[in-house]
Amino acid sequence: GVCFSDLVGVTFFRLHERPEEEPHILLECDSGVLDAIQKHLKLYKIRRKVNIAPCLDLSLWAVVPGERAGDITSSFAKCADQAVILTPDPRTEVMGWRLITKKGANLSEIIPGSHIGNIQDYHRHRYKQGIPEGVKDLPPGVALPLESNLAYMNGISFTKGCYIGQELTARTHHVGVIRKRLLPVHFSAPLPEDGIPEGAEILTESGKSAGKFRAGGGEVGIALLRLANINEPLCLNIAGNKVKLTARIPEWWPKPTSK
């Protein structure tokens, strides 16, 4: 994961294998910002000799191991050359692998024993793990890199030097306290029919503000919550109805070191 000043959560894949080769990089982004990203890159390109173009002939897949997958990485090695990219998801192990193929490629040849799943199951998996992706989860200009857990997902370099927002990001990371983070939440039934709007206020039992809902599907989602409140029972008010929810810390977050 990477962030541009407004856009958070764009992933880079390097195609060229050695530093001497001409750099050839694939960039994965939400299809809704395809134009915005190209405009953004071209704005800062100025005179650099860089070609920026959408890869309409490629398909992007997430390869998520099922419960009984065991160690499938050994079978990857044999078929990897049929894929354009097959690499562990750079964000976290729980997201499995990222696979990029030519459109129309036969996936069961590339990943034997795999089957194509439902996109809604992919999103559920993400929300259960608290992994934001795309502009719905990370609204441009609203989502902040550290609160979005980008530092936990290898999305921020603290050694690369100047970029827009670098000073604030570095200072907060090293010295500041991050009081709110995007966390996975689980709703108890019954759920409102029309879903839960982005920005809906989440409250503690005593009515204090604990954060805001961001996005989700069904009984799972992610919310920006005050870390001080996540172990309490929480709720939302939707059209006069109270909806209860609980939050949890994802297992893949780094464990705090005891001092």
């Binding site: 704005l43 100025i46 100047c162 970029y163 827009i164």
Partner: protein
Amino acid sequence: GSWCPAPLCRGRALQRIPPGAACAVGRPPRWASSFSQSGPTASDPSEGQVFLSESCVKRLLEITEGSEFLRLQVEGGGCSGFQYKFSLDTVINPDDRQGQRGGARVVVDVDSLAFVKGSMVDFSQELIRSSFQVVSNPQVEKGCSCGTSFSVKF
């Protein structure tokens, strides 16, 4: 001729061109835009101009040899999104615009000129460093404290 790297030009060895043959191979330079300190003289004034301070002129006369000139470019990068890059160069390209004051020459390509038109190039000597700087850029929204990076108003 002999190959000789110009001091401020990163990674680019430049051939010294004998005086009198100041322009590189290819088409003759476009002298269409001429920056000047007082009043516009450019034949295409919408492209903009850059002004040179006295200290800039003085410094350039001290350090340039032969056909060398100061090149100003704008690149993406830095803490505010864009950054200025100064170098010494001897090669003029068709999309360059150039101007002079008191015998000192500054060249800006047309894409970079869009970001710096109306600015002044100064040579500032401070305790922390001496360097060429772009000052009073009317298009800058905010600049960084070291003067290298900036963002623009749109």
